[in-house]
């Protein structure tokens, strides 16, 4: 079998797991793909190196291929995402100071009495934010890893729901994940929304408490995707399909609980995260240490690598992300932009690559997001597909066919610093 050399960039995060497993457990080699994983230091580098051909593709924030096609933050480049590398996996954490104020508000006599766990957690966080903002007389600062990230959109969605305005009560700033802990220590941040292991690292450093995994904000949202240059994907289909088969097998392996010890040991190594395996294992199992006092939390679907069709690039994910870009004021809605967004996620390539390999494929390529309160069977080629729950904490439903209605009804989520 001929060997195909593929260079894929990644940022050292737990959710690079499927790519790492594909290489280290030889799922890629078995498909004839020589997978070279190149560690990167910034999402901007990842974008540019894919755009200019130094990498064939990369571990990308799900909004990145969309931002690339829309020319946000750079000149427009045709990027495609034919595979989702993980669903969920981020969390919102707050500083000890803010956590202390929230702790008092959470006391039984003061705390919220009704609503879901997520709504209650958010209510307490919002009250704590207001209290600290009142005390300080200046906006609080929250960090996210990149302007075009689900971290930013989910945090903005939460703040808007709580009636908190970015630019007034809260500023959202970009901080590279490995520097989040330092920024917290230096008192530059009051909280952040970031992927693992950085929430856990901050808790272990006794600098933060985890208040809300994003799996509780949206129970099933795409987080990272395999992003590729469209030109490469189209002219190297044989290699692309072999790579997707390898990633599918790696995802099946990596999602199984009995493999999480091995997986965390591999991710802990120097070329990948270079951090203790125990910290990495927490997010794989969804069993987190929430606070420096050792308080524990077990979260269902904290990080999903394969089950419930997690790797399928639903177009509705891309459309939801686009809607959040519009809400955040990053882009104005237009039919031409909508067409560009629809071309960013490529369920057709996923089907073509994995259908012949016998993978169970869903009947549709987009769905109403947030409609499933419980795990539900859906039509699929193999007849064994279950999806959900995928609810948003506030009960929002996102129907990709009613994008205009959604945008008309959804509150703007404000803009970042320097914008006012």
């Amino acid at each position: 079998m001929s060997r195909h050399h593929v260079r894929i960039g990644f940022i050292p995060l737990v959710d690079a797991a499927v790519l790492v497993a594909a290489r280290e457990l030889d799922f890629a080699a078995a498909e004839g793909v020589e997978l070279e994983l190149c560690r990167e230091t910034s999402w901007s580098n990842v974008r540019d190196k894919v755009a200019f051909g130094l990498f064939e593709g990369a571990h990308m924030l799900a909004p990145m291929p969309i931002a690339m096609r829309l020319g946000l933050g750079s000149v427009a480049h045709e990027a495609v995402a034919p595979f989702v590398l993980n669903v969920n996996g981020n969390a919102i954490s707050v500083s000890r100071e803010l956590a202390g104020i929230m702790g008092a508000l959470r006391a039984p006599e003061n705390g919220p009495k009704s609503g879901s766990a997520a709504l209650q957690a958010l209510e307490v966080m919002a009250a704590g934010l207001r209290e600290l903002h009142r005390k300080r007389g200046a906006p609080l600062t929250f960090g996210v890893p990149f302007p075009f990230s689900c971290h930013a959109y989910e945090l903005r969605h939460c703040l808007a729901h709580a009636g908190l305005q970015t630019g007034r009560e809260v500023e959202i700033v970009v901080v590279p994940p490995p520097l989040m802990v330092d920024a917290l220590r230096a008192g530059k941040l009051d909280g952040f929304c970031v992927g693992e292991p950085w929430n856990s690292v901050a808790v272990d450093a006794e600098l933060a408490e985890i208040v809300l995994p994003t799996a509780r904000v949206w129970q099933f949202g795409a987080e990272k995707v395999l992003g590729l240059r469209q030109e490469w994907a189209e002219s190297n289909q044989e290699t692309l399909f072999a790579l997707l088969r390898a990633l599918h097998k790696a995802a099946l392996w990596a999602d199984r609980a009995e493999n999480h010890v091995t997986l965390s040991e591999i991710l802990a190594r120097e070329p990948y995260l270079d951090l203790p395996a125990e910290i990495i294992e927490r997010s794989l199992n969804g069993h987190l240490t929430l606070a420096p006092d050792g308080r524990q939390g077990l979260f269902e679907d904290f990080l999903v690598l394969q089950r419930k069709a997690a790797t399928f690039p639903w177009r509705s994910y891309a459309l939801w992300i686009y809607a959040q870009m519009v809400r955040a004021g990053q882009v104005e809605h237009s039919p031409a932009r909508l067409a560009a967004v629809r071309a960013a996620f490529r369920p057709d390539l996923y089907r073509e690559a994995l259908g012949p390999a016998g993978v169970d494929l869903p009947g549709a390529s987009e769905k109403v997001e947030g409609a499933l309160a419980v795990e539900t069977p859906v039509a699929s080629s193999g007849g064994k597909m279950f999806l959900g729950p995928d609810a948003f904490f506030d009960g929002t439903v996102f129907d990709p066919n009613d994008l205009e209605d959604y945008l008309a009804g959804a509150a703007p989520t404000g803009r970042g610093r320097l914008a006012t």
Binding site: T41, S42, D48, V173, V174, L179, Q330, A419
Partner: protein
């Protein structure tokens, strides 16, 4: 009339070099000065980067691609479209070869939107050359250091052999070479094991 105006525009062009490595920043700054630019600012402190840059309001920002704070700049990028002095990355499909060279050299450039491309090309070209020069210097320096360290170990091992076995310098060296060849190891590896053994036995 040409050159006076060009040199004027060069000297008024404000360039920020964002680089925590000050020796590299020096190399870049020197290159830019040689090319006629005068208003160059080196930012080595990464905390408060945005504040510093908004205060400085440079026309061009050069940043090392290995710097994770590039993403912080990107945010400025996003929000700055809404303020008076927008900043955009110097990327354009007509300059693909230059951009590829920049990415390979490891330098990123951001410019004030609306600035003429021709005015930037020269800066970027200078930065690329200087980045490449610096990496070459770095690797040469490392190679020199490694060679020096090897020489030292070989000299020490030679001394140990001369003392322990009553050999001349040439004989000690020849013995190590012969051993290295018969074990297909590097001379420096044999020397290192002699030094280690001597340390253990002393």
């Amino acid at each position: 009339m040409g050159w006076v105006r060009v040199s004027n525009s060069l000297s008024t062009m404000k360039i920020a070099v964002v680089d925590p490595q000050s020796d590299r920043a020096d190399v870049i700054e020197e290159g830019l000065r040689d090319a006629g630019y005068r208003d160059i600012h080196h930012i080595s402190e990464m905390s408060g980067l945005l504040e510093r840059l908004s205060e400085l309001a440079p026309d061009v920002i050069l940043i090392d691609l290995e710097n994770p704070n590039r993403d912080v700049l990107e945010q400025m990028f996003e929000v700055s479209r809404l303020v008076s002095r927008p900043i955009a990355m110097f990327v354009d499909d007509s300059d693909m070869s230059m951009i590829e060279a920049a990415v390979e050299a490891g330098v990123g450039a951001y410019v004030v939107d609306g600035m003429k491309k021709e005015r930037i090309k020269n800066i970027l070209a200078t930065a690329i050359t200087r980045f490449n020069t610096f990496s070459r210097l770095q690797s040469e320096l490392q190679a020199t250091k490694a060679a020096l360290a090897e020489r030292k170990v070989i000299d020490r091992a030679k001394g140990i052999l001369m003392k322990a076995k009553g050999l001349s310098e040439e004989e000690a060296y020849a013995l190590m070479r012969k051993t290295a060849m018969s074990q297909s190891k590097k001379l420096s590896e044999i020397a290192q094991s002699i030094v280690t053994a001597a340390e253990l036995l002393s």
